[in-house]
């Protein structure tokens, strides 16, 4: 059995649980696709599961569907994506900076809190039938005539655990980057100032340098991306924590028979606050972290220095500033939102992402192009897939982030298909797979076992995702709404094709799992979850 270090083991644990959450989100995704393609097909399974739900009535198929739909993105993003990111960053940040994690004890804390928080949210949907969807539009989460009170309370507790945990993780990463084990150490204020380019602006204006400041021109590009992206991670966690706390207060008041008036909170102001915070992930950290990982892995995989490195640090700074101003593209359908905000924030500032991602993709592809001939390793294939996903999903996003076109695209399958799921499955999903394909050999010195299974994974995942999202997009362009169950079978043919795409995705995922377990071996996989002495009673060495 391969011996790996303490941190490497935790990195793999994060990855394994992240993949379990992907399997859960994917499985429930297939169930929802089945519901849309063949209404009533899940009746038998629903009846069986209703026997274990602690509710006094028979939930309707719609209640079950919307309960699943509510927790699906939480499991997918805060479960799969965040856990993989935590595991990867906990290894890569100290590795690149050649220093230890500042607060090692937080690593298992982060692991257990994230796992527990996501599972609590999932249970609130599965058992508690919490159904207000991840958008949590006020005052729906506190409208207990249609949203179960117990589910609402459980969901917000789970969400609070996740957000507090994300803050602890960010604290640990910042502490590691800023810690005193390097010749220079910096305060958090100096770090923030440099992240926003203030020292560079001061130099440009001819003002006195207020240093010392972390020199973003000297740090590895990946660390610059993690540092700047994590500012958005923190803002997102604070905003969602505040929204969750508000919903929880209302829930507890209702529980103790002293209900509060939902009209005390302006629904439009809440929506602005909520989306400003959520876009710190959707248009903030995801772009910066993705760019950082491309910039780290591509030179490593093709053996060439990053093209245009001097420019990319400024592009990451631009991403940070732009991410703070784009949230109104979620309020383009709200006529009560001032037109100037819909135009500026919703459309023009959002197009800033076109420039930053355009330059990021150009840099990444030029690095590969100039390194020819290159070997298409599993990780490089998946990075190219990821870049493709950002091109397609980003283009779809810009088409809908438009004062004119949003009128007929908002809340349709276009938004959730060609935009969100192409970005999540192809853009982000394939990137995380690439990271896993790199980290496994790096951490364990084991080569990925089967190139054939890598190809099955790649093509099944990519083609499956494109079939599914293309069918959704076509349906959306013909008026099919997201979050809607149609009784008359109007869009059923599209949903049936989308289901086929989803099943192909599942085939790709199974191929990946078989390959990973085949590479690591069951002993190594089990050693991540059970003490080593249970696997090798003769080894005589306790797990550290």
């Amino acid at each position: 059995m391969t011996r790996i270090g303490w941190l490497e083991k935790w990195t793999l644990r994060f990855a394994v649980v992240g993949l379990v959450f992907l399997a859960m989100a994917g499985f429930e995704g297939v169930l929802m696709r089945t519901d849309l393609a063949a209404p009533g097909a899940l009746g038998g399974m629903e009846a069986a599961l209703n026997r274990i739900r602690p509710v006094a009535y028979e939930p309707t198929p719609a209640e079950l569907f919307y309960g699943m739909l509510t927790v699906h993105p939480v499991v997918g993003i805060y479960g799969f994506a965040y856990m993989c990111v935590m595991g990867a960053f906990y290894f890569l940040v100290p590795f690149l900076l050649k220093k230890e994690i500042r607060h090692k004890r937080l690593v298992p804390v982060n692991f257990w809190l994230q796992t527990g928080g996501v599972l609590t949210c999932w249970l609130s949907g599965f058992f508690g039938l919490f159904n207000s969807l991840y958008t949590l539009y006020w005052p729906l989460p506190v409208s207990y005539d249609r949203v179960p009170l117990a589910g609402s309370i459980a969901f917000t507790v789970g969400a609070a655990v996740i957000m507090v945990n994300v803050l602890l993780f960010a604290f640990n990463i910042f502490s590691t980057v800023l810690s005193q084990s390097n010749p220079h150490s910096y305060s958090f204020g100096q770090f923030l100032s440099s992240a926003f380019g203030i020292p560079r602006l001061r130099r440009w204006l001819g003002l006195k340098d207020d240093g010392p400041n972390p020199n973003y021109e000297e740090l590895p590009v990946f660390i610059v991306a993690v540092g700047r992206g994590s500012i958005d991670t923190v803002i997102n966690a604070i905003v969602l924590l505040s929204a969750g706390a508000l919903i929880l207060v209302y829930g507890l008041a209702a529980l103790f028979k002293a209900p509060l008036d939902p009209r005390a909170i302006d629904a439009l102001v809440y929506k602005n606050w909520f989306w400003w915070g959520l876009d710190m992930v959707a248009d903030g950290n995801v772009l910066m972290y993705t760019a950082g990982v491309w910039y780290l892995l591509i030179p490593l995989l093709v053996g060439r220095k990053l093209y245009g490195e001097a420019v990319v640090r400024t592009v990451i700074l631009a991403d940070l500033l732009i991410s703070l101003g784009v949230w109104s593209h979620h309020l383009l359908g709200d006529r009560a939102q001032p037109l100037v905000m819909r135009l500026l924030s919703g459309q023009f500032i959002t197009w800033g992402e076109f420039f930053t991602m355009g330059l990021t993709i150009f840099t990444s592809l030029m690095t590969i192009w100039l390194a020819r001939p290159v070997k298409f390793t599993p990780a490089l294939k998946f990075i190219l897939g990821s870049i493709f996903g950002f091109v397609i999903g980003g283009t779809a996003g810009l088409i809908q982030a438009n004062v004119g076109l949003n009128l007929v695209l908002h809340n349709t399958q276009w938004v959730i298909g060609p935009h969100a799921h192409v970005l999540l499955l192809v853009g982000l999903g394939m990137l995380l797979f690439a990271v896993i394909y790199v980290l496994i050999p790096m951490l364990t010195s084991l080569d990925i076992r089967s190139q054939r299974l890598v190809n099955v994974h790649f093509w099944a995942w990519l083609v499956g995702a494109l079939i599914m999202t293309y069918a959704m997009g076509l349906a959306g362009s013909r008026g099919m709404l997201r979050r809607m169950l149609y009784e008359n079978g109007l869009y059923q043919p599209y949903m049936q094709v989308a289901l086929l795409g989803a099943l192909l995705l599942a085939v790709g995922f199974v191929a990946f799992l078989v390959n990973v377990v085949g590479t690591l071996g069951w002993a190594n996989v089990l050693s991540l979850v059970v003490p080593e002495r249970w696997l090798r009673p003769q080894s005589g060495r306790a797990e550290t």
């Binding site: 309707t60 719609a62 209640e63 919307y66 159904n131 969807l133 958008t135 539009y137 006020w138 005052p139 729906l140 409208s143 005539d145 249609r146 949203v147 009209r263 302006d266 629904a267 439009l268 929506k271 093209y307 245009g308 420019v311 309020l331 359908g333 709200d334 006529r335 009560a336 459309q347 023009f348 197009w351 076109f354 420039f355 355009g358 330059l359 150009f362 840099t363 030029m366 810009l398 438009n402 004062v403 004119g404 076109l405 009128l407 007929v408 908002h410 809340n411 349709t412 013909r478 008026g479 099919m480 709404l481 979050r483 809607m484 169950l485 149609y486 009784e487 109007l490 869009y491």
Partner: protein
Amino acid sequence: MDREERIWFGVLIVVALVFNVVTLSPLVPWQKWLLWSRPTPDERVSIAFENYEIRLPAEKIEIRAGEFVEFVATSRDVTYGFGVFRPDGAMVFQMQVIPGHENKIVWKFDAPGTYDVRSTEYSGPRHPEMFIENAIQVIP
């Protein structure tokens, strides 16, 4: 920036300008009145949303083709959506209906016909029920 990157940046600028100019222009038909001319509506139609119900002012709203109509939607509880659809399901237009606000949109129907109204924003498990067939009759 290297020369190739500067050329690429120039391409990005051109694409951004063309796309934004075209989609903000009257080439997108409804931009003529939603963004540019802001005409005075000939008629005002009020729609109320509450408890999963869409309450129209009459069993069927009658509108003349070519006239500007202002739809004003209000909600007394949660956020809904006011969406107008052709019989084949294609969307004509929509807007969010935020509680505590008057949500207004001006529209001009070019061709006679009947249109359905459906809530476009999830408001709870009975959201799919919020549908009125042939809610709007556009007459010549």
